[in-house]
């Protein structure tokens, strides 16, 4: 069996070389060969593929001696990562064609191609080794011993070893060369004193290193899988550009020669967004081959990729990833309908037009659920500067009025096209922190009651247009500040319902940058951001006020971030949330973590700082019917690296 396969491989190689030589008459002997069997050689290619262990193009290069043999490119047999295929063993070839918003959308190509040290499992509740071969941890969760894959190589053929991890830790992360602070995951917290201590990373041998924490860090691996998926960097490349190795002058020179202006920006680009630059070796399944600023960004398969399928065929199946720049969302839809793109991610808004053309366009829609609390909702900034507004926003009755004063059925039908249920913002079923009955809290449309509540709150005075005034007679205006026009329909309806309650509502759309600035300046009273949290303990940003990011907690976050120097001091239930978060960080067991996480969620349920009017909608993956092995029933979350969770290296295109 094995012999016959080998023979086939050989055949394919000959065929390819022969094909190559017909175009190139430099070698007379090769020409002769090709003349002998020009037709027969073409046929076995397809048959041979079934048994080939590597892509035909590589086989040809190997034959030419331009590429080491497959075995020499892969880790040692025992250390090869075997990727489970979703449905079937695939075949080589084809292009993954996708629309792309250009280099500003770095993650659009970054996430699906990312290979993390540890990645989340399918359910999203645990991590599993990926780049790492495995790990051991001591009983009190302080020492993590992590093993790498022997013989694994960067895309330029240089071995991938512990050196690359240590280098990253010592020279890049700790030095903050790429503009990121050392991630929270590397700090452990003393449950008693609250003292934070930085971990130590030590090389054991070429394929083993340890991370040692001062205090227990139960969730270290999960936190790394969220914060710092790439706990490594190609030492042999970065050594040639980092100023501490080559000196500031040389770095500046290199910066300029790459076309950059500022070394800082240059180091961020190369150290953090490395997958966009063809000069930087990678361990991803595909490596960039073009300038990301050109109209098409192409990533070709990595000859040293370290994963195979269960039959030992080197992944990825798909030859290359072609990201074509688009400028308008219409082009994404139209291109998908026309088959210009074969694997595209859409929001739920495009559901109908995509579904209606499914047959004609020869693609299928695969919905992945989102762990979002809602798809149409608002956040009231609890620390908004206007004292009248702040008082109202902090009053739970006011939030109830805003919740029951809006007809959720209308929102669901018009805004989400019936895809999002008419429910309250709440943790969806199946996601960590799910609470029974939460989704029906304050959801019944009851404008009389809402008005009554508002009257009770003292908002009884009205102006000449019959809008409510503050109790002190000053003008009361709810200003919703948005950064995109996608929510226009929702906001229009919301404005109508709010104004029906006598609450004057203004909408202002600003560009993303301004919105961001205003967030920092605490100038956003209301906005429509939706909360999406896979697991509080993994990534708490959206619901725990740790820094300035989510509008509902406004400058409470700044208070935590600045250690109490700036911002607004959290009180009451907000302070409780932070307390619980501190407990999570110092927890010794998973049970403790789950318990405190649940407490945080319950506080949210009680207070409903975030009001939702329609439940989450799925993310849609439009995949050409020729693309196989795309899993269904998955969760789409940034924490799980979106489409990356489907393990794209095993997607394949049936010819």
């Amino acid at each position: 069996m094995k012999r016959s396969k080998m023979m086939l491989v050989l055949f394919v190689m000959i065929a390819i070389i022969a094909a190559g030589c017909t175009n190139n008459n430099s070698s007379p002997s090769a020409t002769n060969e090709s003349k002998e069997k020009p037709t027969e050689t073409a046929a076995p290619v397809d048959n041979a593929q079934a048994g080939a262990k590597e892509a035909p193009a590589f086989a040809a290069l190997v034959k030419d001696g331009k590429l080491p043999k497959l075995e020499d490119r892969m880790p040692v047999a025992a250390d090869i990562k075997i990727e489970e295929v979703v449905d079937e063993i695939g075949q080589y070839g084809g292009e993954w064609k996708m629309p792309w918003n250009g280099p500003s959308d770095k993650w659009g190509v970054g996430q699906p191609t990312e290979e993390a040290l540890f990645r989340f499992n399918k359910e999203g509740n645990k991590v599993e080794p990926n780049v790492a071969k495995g790990y051991e941890v001591n009983d009190d969760s302080t020492v993590f011993t992590i093993h790498l894959r022997e013989g694994m190589k960067w895309s330029d053929g240089v071995p991938f070893t512990t050196e690359d991890v240590i280098f990253y830790w010592e020279h890049m992360l700790k030095k903050e060369t790429f503009g990121k602070k050392i991630y929270d995951a590397y700090y452990s917290v003393d449950p008693v004193s609250g003292d934070r201590a930085l971990a130590e990373v030590k090389k054991v041998d070429d394929y083993t290193f340890t991370v040692t924490h001062k205090y227990p860090s139960v969730q270290f691996l999960e936190r790394v899988a969220i914060d710092n998926k790439w706990f490594f960097a190609p030492k042999h490349f970065h050594e040639t550009i980092l100023p501490e190795f080559v000196g500031d002058a040389k770095t500046l020179e290199i910066t300029k020669s790459w076309g950059y202006e500022d070394p800082k920006v240059f180091l961020v680009e190369t150290g953090y967004y490395d997958w966009l630059h063809k000069e930087i070796p990678t361990i991803r399944a595909w490596m960039p081959t073009t300038d990301p600023n050109s109209d098409q960004f192409v990533m070709e398969r990595n000859p040293y990729f370290w994963k195979t399928d269960s039959e030992g065929k080197q992944l990825p199946y798909i030859d290359r990833l072609v990201a074509t720049k688009i400028q308008d969302p219409s082009q994404k839809v139209l291109g998908t309908l026309a088959g210009d793109y074969n694997l595209v991610v859409f929001g739920a808004n495009d559901f109908t037009v995509l579904k209606e053309n499914e047959k004609k366009g020869d693609y299928r829609i695969i919905p992945w659920t989102q762990p979002a609390w809602s798809s149409a909702g608002i956040q009231l900034n609890q620390t908004t500067p206007d004292p009248n507004l702040r008082k109202l926003f902090q009053d739970i009755r006011f939030r109830e009025a805003l919740s029951i004063g809006v007809n959720r059925v209308e929102i669901s039908e018009i805004v989400t096209n019936g895809l999002g249920e008419p429910i309250q913002a709440s943790v969806p079923e199946g996601v960590m922190g799910y609470q029974e009955g939460w989704k029906d809290q304050w959801t019944e449309f009851n404008p009389e009651r809402a008005n009554q509540i508002l009257d009770e709150l003292g908002l009884t005075k009205r102006d000449k247009d019959n809008f409510r005034l503050n109790a002190d007679g000053s003008e009361l205006t709810l200003t919703i500040i948005e950064s995109s026009t996608d929510t226009a329909a929702f906001l229009e309806l919301l404005k109508k319902y709010f104004e029906d309650m006598g609450l004057k509502t203004n909408l202002k759309v600003v560009d993303g940058g301004t919105h961001f600035d205003m967030k920092y300046a605490n100038q956003i009273p209301i906005t429509t951001e939706n909360i999406s949290v896979a697991n509080v303990a993994f990534r708490p940003d959206a619901i725990v006020p740790l820094r300035v990011i989510t509008p509902w907690f406004g400058h409470y976050g700044l208070y935590t971030q600045s250690g109490g120097k700036e911002g607004v001091k959290p009180e009451g239930d907000i302070a409780l949330i932070l307390e619980n978060w501190e407990k999570i960080k110092a927890s010794k067991t998973q049970e403790e973590i789950d318990q405190y996480s649940n407490e945080i969620i319950k506080l949210h349920m009680k207070n409903q700082w975030v009001i939702g009017y329609a439940g989450p909608t799925p993310t849609l993956i439009a995949a050409s019917n020729s693309i196989h092995n795309i899993p269904t029933d998955m969760v789409w979350a940034d924490e799980y690296r979106s489409l990356g969770q489907g393990h794209p290296s095993q997607f394949f295109i049936k010819q």
Binding site: V333, F351, T352, E410, N506, L507, V509, V510
Partner: protein
């Protein structure tokens, strides 16, 4: 054959045949009117425009529904035609529509509408509906046409929020038809003053003004729009927003008119009659008003008419970029901006109806302008 009667001397005037001779003695305006009357297309255009503006004036009354009549039941309803013959083949003298039953296609989630032949609603005049202020003054809820609740009539279908497109087009015309008028009006005043000064006085003043015009004209309009509309504060009502847009347009538009005015001033100020007036010691203002303005007022009318369609189109372009007026306030630009989503072009093409109205308006303005130009040109046959 016949005898010659004695010569009778008569005053010739009394017997002059009355044939078209009035053309020879008419005023400039009368001449324009006579020539304009010959331009059929321009007359039809004038009529259509008058109709459009009348509709805009009484928009709230004519439109069956308001701008905020959202209804999740009737999202993306295709245009409904009136019927005269019902499902049983019976003829009705009053046109009617059936009530719609709406369901969703479970596969594609598309709304499907089936007429409920049990529930017939006749089209009626002066139907009670949403309350509004007639001409902004009198509170009433009577609408010109419509059907009794719970029936609904959507002549041109509905949009993605269940609003009647016909009503929105009509209500949108208030903004879309008046922005250009006001905008051009403002440009005209600025253009007239500055162009007049530049053309009449000439010299260094002219040079400076020409440079300024050159600067403004060479200014790319896109960033200007973006910057100016970003500079508009958040808490302003629609009316104010509307004014801002008008001012933006006028700021860009006046230079063209100023050039026309200047050119005419220069060519007219050397005419004999103007020089004669100057020699006679007539003051500048008087010369301008009495002698120069009448000389080219007809050209101004033409230039103004032809400047309007550009502004209508500019308003739609601004809406496309998400600048300017936003729903629920409605202009044709807003409607087109909604229509341009590929989803709408593909699935709900009736949302392109506003395009027809925009084209019609722009065409009629152009034809009217052409007609006026032909009429104003005394040398044209």
């Amino acid at each position: 054959m016949r005898t010659i009667p004695a010569f009778k001397r008569q005053k010739p005037e009394t017997l002059r045949p009355k044939k078209n001779t009035d053309a020879n003695y008419s005023s400039q305006w009368r001449l324009m009117y006579l020539r304009f009357k010959k331009h059929k297309l321009a007359q039809i255009s004038l009529f259509i425009l008058a109709l459009l503006y009348t509709v805009a004036l009484f928009a709230q009354f004519i439109a069956p529904y308001g701008l905020q009549s959202y209804d999740s039941k009737y999202v993306n309803v295709p245009p409904m035609g009136f019927k005269f013959i019902d499902a049983d083949g019976k003829f009705h003298i009053k046109p009617f529509v059936y009530e719609l039953k709406s369901t969703r296609d479970p596969e594609t989630m598309r709304k499907i509408f089936v007429p409920d032949t049990e529930k017939r609603h006749s089209l009626q005049f002066f139907v009670k509906g949403e309350e509004y202020k007639f001409l902004g003054l009198i509170k009433t809820s009577t609408h010109l046409i419509g059907v009794k609740e719970p029936g609904r009539v959507f002549l041109l279908g509905t949009d993605g929020m269940g609003r009647d497109l016909f009503s929105r087009i009509i209500l949108g015309s208030q903004i879309s038809l008046s922005i250009p008028l006001v905008g051009v009006g403002i440009s005209l005043v600025i253009g007239l003053i500055i162009g007049g000064i530049s053309g009449y006085f000439g010299g260094w003043l002219d040079s400076i003004i020409q440079r300024v015009i050159e600067i403004i004209r060479s200014f790319p309009t896109l960033p200007l729009w973006m910057a100016l509309s970003a500079a508009i504060p958040p808490r302003i009502p629609v009316v104010t927003m509307y004014l801002y847009i008008v001012i933006i347009f006028a700021f860009i538009g006046w230079t063209d008119l100023a050039r026309v005015v200047r050119g005419k001033f220069i060519s007219l100020k050397n005419e004999d009659y103007v020089i004669a007036a100057k020699i006679a010691g007539v003051g500048s203002t008087k010369i301008i008003i009495k002698h120069l303005l009448p000389g080219f007022i007809s050209y101004l009318v033409v230039a103004t008419t032809l400047a309007i369609p550009g502004m209508i189109l500019a308003e739609t372009a601004m809406s496309f970029l998400g600048l300017g007026i936003r729903s629920p306030a409605t202009s044709w630009g807003v409607l087109l901006q909604e229509a341009q989503k590929i989803e709408n072009v593909a699935l709900y093409p009736w949302k392109l109806f506003p395009l027809g109205i925009v084209i019609l308006t722009v065409l009629t303005y152009n034809f009217l302008g052409d007609g006026l130009r032909d009429a104003a040109d005394p040398y044209k046959k």
